[in-house]
């Protein structure tokens, strides 16, 4: 049901853990629906993501998309990180089963939520970044792309 890349990232997730005094932390999803992602960002003075960690409660796809999302934003500027879409995460994993597409959306949303937190903490505005939803599942029907 999963691609080899998904299985690899599930079995050997990259960047699992927490960052103490992180520059930004974002938590999205809800336990009711079975997945929660939390992303920690360590951002340097040049607005480059120096380190990133995640914790995820969820299925194999949720863990794999979190892992891949952290890999894709690591070392990037906050503006480039903002451009990492759920599509990019899915492509990097060689695809996801249709019922798991929402996991990739969650990963994108978690990155955005962490960036939002960073922006708020530092009193800056990141062009193109919107306030994260508290629950990604509210309108996922419209957002899912098959």
């Amino acid at each position: 049901m999963y691609t080899e890349k998904v299985m690899d990232h599930f079995q050997h997730p990259r960047n699992v853990g927490e960052i103490e005094n992180a520059s930004g932390v974002g938590t999205v999803g809800n336990a009711k629906c079975g997945d929660i992602m939390r992303i920690f960002l360590d951002i340097d003075e040049n607005q480059i993501i120096r380190d990133v960690k995640f914790k995820t409660f969820g299925c194999g796809a949720a863990v794999a998309t979190s892992s891949m999302a952290t890999e894709l934003v690591k070392g990037k500027s906050i503006y480039d990180a903002l451009k990492v879409t759920n599509k990019a995460v899915m492509e990097a994993l060689d695809g996801l089963p249709p019922v798991k597409v929402h996991c990739s959306l969650l990963a994108e949303e978690a990155i955005h939520a962490a960036l939002w937190d960073y922006a708020e903490k530092n009193g800056i505005k990141i062009e193109g970044l919107e306030k994260p939803k508290s629950d990604i599942h509210e309108d996922e029907e419209e957002e899912e792309e098959y």
Partner: protein
């Protein structure tokens, strides 16, 4: 990975070698159509009827009350839809429960769309239907009560005898889905006042694609599958002779081995449950502790999600199942776990392990040790666990 522990025997079972052996001649030599006139084929009719006798004997029924179907799902569909059709002018109300298999629930929902009214009874925190609830739900227009004999997910055995008694006192037909219970625990249709009972071959070491519906003499339901005079004109289609022979053999075997087999399974199951609850914190057992199928264990591990758990177990050679949303293809976890009152997040972290008699204590030890490691690992990456621990330490 050499280890292979099939702990999903509620999903299906290995076909017993003696069952396969009994079936083979009916593929290769005795392949005649039982409806044909010549003696070569007619003896297959006798073979089919012999199985009917074996199965009837296991239930305390008469052979002509056993009707072969393509499995438990067909038997459930037939019982509900044909009863509604045959008794619909008498009344249009059906009582069932919230924890039935989808073969019952989806058939009931179909009937609702046809203008029937269905009451879905709640269950208690162990998954038990309260007989007084059944009684209270009965209306003058109730035509059928359908309650499963034992639940497929949490293994709880329902008070079928009491419910059957209530149904019969009120003159209402009583059906039970015994797909999980038949072959695991003794069942007598008269003692339990059962009018219809569904069962399946592959849950008791028989072949897939064969099952039956017991229909008490006098119950007027008609054919659901049209096109021939087979099964006393109630179920058309050339008999699945090898399947029926395999089912008969499996039933004979299940009855013969039941006492010894289930005693061993109960001991192993209780050992497994004991160790898991003792050694893995924040874990609960779902289902009734006592009134429970001999081979069923169902746990919820807080802070983790079932599908992740299943994949990790699979990598260690352990096959289990989960009521998590991710394994069902929807966003909601199992309807059974929700019906017993589990919050969504705890229902997502459920694991069902169903044993067979071939396991030994050391297999259970391997399962426990593996589970401990995996649960710890998944919790270490769970934000829910992180939040919970921070709260605890505050």
């Amino acid at each position: 990975m050499d280890k292979f522990l099939y702990l999903d025997n509620a999903a299906t079972t290995k076909t017993a070698p003696e069952v396969v052996e009994a079936m083979i001649p009916y593929f290769t030599e005795n392949y005649g159509n039982p409806s044909s006139v010549y003696s070569f084929a007619a003896k297959n009719k006798d073979a089919v009827n012999r199985q009917r006798e074996i199965i009837a004997g296991a239930l305390g029924a008469a052979p002509n009350e056993i009707y072969f179907t393509a499995g438990g799902t067909e038997a459930d569909n037939w019982a509900l839809k044909a009863t509604a059709e045959a008794y619909g002018n008498k009344g249009r109300h059906i009582i069932t429960t919230k924890i039935e298999h989808h073969a019952i629930l989806h058939s009931a929902q179909y009937l609702e769309r046809q203008g029937f009214e269905v009451t879905y009874l709640d269950v208690d925190e162990n998954g038990k239907v309260r007989p007084e609830d059944v009684e209270a739900a009965i209306r003058p227009d109730t035509i059928l009560i359908s309650v499963m004999y034992a639940n497929n997910e949490i293994g709880t055995i329902e008070p079928i005898q009491e419910i059957g008694k209530i149904a019969h006192e009120k003159g209402i037909l009583f059906h039970t889905d015994a797909v999980q219970a038949f072959g695991q625990i003794p069942i007598n249709v008269d003692e339990c006042h059962i009018d219809m009972l569904s069962a399946s071959g592959h849950k008791l070491n028989g072949p897939k694609g064969i099952g039956f519906l017991y229909i008490r003499k006098g119950v007027k339901i008609r054919s659901f599958i049209h096109g021939g005079a087979q099964e006393r004109r109630r179920r058309a289609g050339t008999e699945n002779v090898p399947g029926i022979v395999g089912l008969g053999k499996a039933v004979e075997r299940a009855v013969r081995t039941m006492e010894e087999r289930t005693k061993k399974e109960r001991e192993l199951r209780d050992y497994l449950i004991g160790r898991v609850l003792e050694e893995i914190p924040y874990t609960r057992l779902n289902g009734d502790r006592e009134q429970r199928l001999p081979n069923n264990a169902n746990f919820s591990f807080r802070f983790i999600e079932g599908e992740s758990l299943l994949i990790m177990l699979d990598m260690k050679g352990i096959c289990g199942s989960s009521g998590s949303a991710c394994t069902s293809g929807s966003l909601d976890p199992s309807h059974v776990l929700l019906a017993i009152g589990l919050p969504h997040e705890i229902a997502h972290g459920s694991l069902r392990l169903t044993l067979n008699e071939e396991f030994e204590k050391e297999d259970m030890d391997y399962v426990v040790e593996t589970l401990k490691e995996i649960v710890k690992n998944l919790r270490s990456m769970s934000p829910l666990y992180e939040d919970f621990m921070k709260k605890q330490n505050r």
